[in-house]
Symmetry: C2
Subunit: 289 residues, 2 copies
């Protein structure tokens, strides 16, 4: 079947070669990969030297990966593939909180914390209170829902990126909503930060005059019995790079202002100095079936 | 522009992000890559876990590469991409020798040899004589043309794969055509062989029930003044895998029989035992405008 290779027969020959793949899904994926990859090559008509540059780039991306660095995920991120896969897997009815990417800094064993606890274990940054409700799509408040939060500090670093300088489990916590479905915690206002750009993906961004930055955000995973969990961010209104997040993570529905609150009673309740910054973010979950 | 990411806006957002790329060719390539890659994702709709498997596979391919192993080229080969790029870059008028892939075993400093020399420096395999002419497209014989040949032995190994067991520059040579444009050399009949299949590409072949083999062949690069050089193979008629070369390299016009010759005078001329195997392969070059 591939006995007489030509530009005309090339794609069918490769598709034929996968004909005996036992796993139907794998066969479908490799067939689509072949068609789209050949379509790219046929459109671009790379020179031999451009093809070699492509091989070298992919090799460098693979070789940049180690236990703590995943350069292929970064490549997927800056090509919008990670967010596209996220969107496809998280189609929600209107009103449900929208998803965005998990990112590399989630910690499976995040600490359980009491409502109102301060997740900022170090530093002298601008304080804020984050509060909201976890609700079902019909508005019902969900008591006993779990909210997993993590964020960078005011210098743009997660605890795991600076284990020498930052306390373990800084700016992380698992909170359980109270009887009226609400949660609240103290923290600091996060800062925008660059994705790691000292590797081949950074070179790609540089060659295309793209910056490597993400706007300021707080990560959330919200979960409750009988509902699909949601992995998302709250983005800080006014942050640089909100218009051009290098990983394309921003959705308008997820942007929230840091409100300046001057309310001595509320400050006492939240155990912060008056006036203070307040971010409100409700997590609306979609019931399963 | 990417402030409100969705499945609808995803591809345009990524295309926009490359708008300021100074190198127009790079911008064109990244635009096409984005469209075809997103097209693949939209068609397949991978689950998060399938996307992770893809990331892991590409990472493993990169990490298999070292100074002597290029797993991304193998991946390109088994997906027919290497041959497609080769075909696009070597469109020839009818009658010119067709191209096929260079492969990883070419040696830049191949030894200059006299016409008729034996390139088989070791082993006890089936002998053969390879002869032909280098011609221009109009049939003119090209004197002083250079033919660079290299091949595996009867066990399927190139010298560089077994530096302990095989003499340096075994089964390689640069020949210069004589006044009537002809070349000839002695060698052994090559054997089919597998591409390296102990890495992730081998796992892919295995998961798709594909074998890793290439049919028996002798590599040629033919070059002459005023003509485009050609990189190609001569394939041995009757070799296993001629119908399903795992890298899709076979073109019908390149397949040649090993003729059994019983001619004592010719045997003396070629300095081989009578009877002997003879392979005839003309290299027809396209003049540069």
């Amino acid at each position: 079947m591939s006995t007489d290779f030509s530009e005309d027969t090339a794609t069918d020959a490769v598709l034929d070669s996968f004909a005996d793949t036992p796993d139907e899904r794998l066969k479908t994926m490799l067939g689509a990969l072949t068609r789209h990859l050949h379509g790219f090559i046929r459109e671009i008509e790379p020179t031999q030297s451009e093809w070699e540059s492509g091989i070298e780039f992919l090799t460098a991306v693979g070789q940049m990966c180690d236990d703590v660095r995943q350069e292929f995920i970064l490549l997927s991120d800056v090509l919008g593939v990670s967010m596209l896969v996220d969107a496809i897997n998280n189609r929600k009815p209107a009103g449900a909180t929208e998803s965005t990417v998990l990112g590399p800094f989630h910690m499976v064993d995040s600490p359980q914390r009491e409502l109102g606890e301060d997740i900022a274990l170090a530093g002298d940054a601008e304080r804020c209170v984050v509060r909201g409700h976890v609700r079902s799509l019909d508005g019902t408040a969900l008591a006993g829902a779990v909210v997993d939060v993590w964020q960078a500090d005011d210098a743009g670093f997660y605890d795991v990126q600076q284990p020498q300088a930052l306390p373990e489990k800084n700016l992380r916590g698992l909170f359980t909503t109270d009887a009226d479905g609400s949660f609240w915690f103290r923290s600091i206002v996060p800062r925008h930060y660059p994705i790691p750009d000292d590797g081949p993906v950074g070179k790609l961004l540089s060659a295309t005059k793209r910056h490597p930055n993400r706007p300021a955000h707080i990560h959330f995973i919200g979960g409750a019995a009988g509902h699909s969990p949601i992995t998302t961010h709250l983005f800080i209104e006014g942050s640089p790079y909100l218009e051009d997040d290098t990983v394309f993570g921003v959705k308008k529905s997820l942007v929230r202002a840091v409100q300046r609150i001057d309310d001595p009673d509320l400050a006492v309740r939240y155990n912060v100095e008056n006036p203070f910054g307040l971010i409100e973010f409700d997590v609306v979950l979609n019931p399963t079936s």
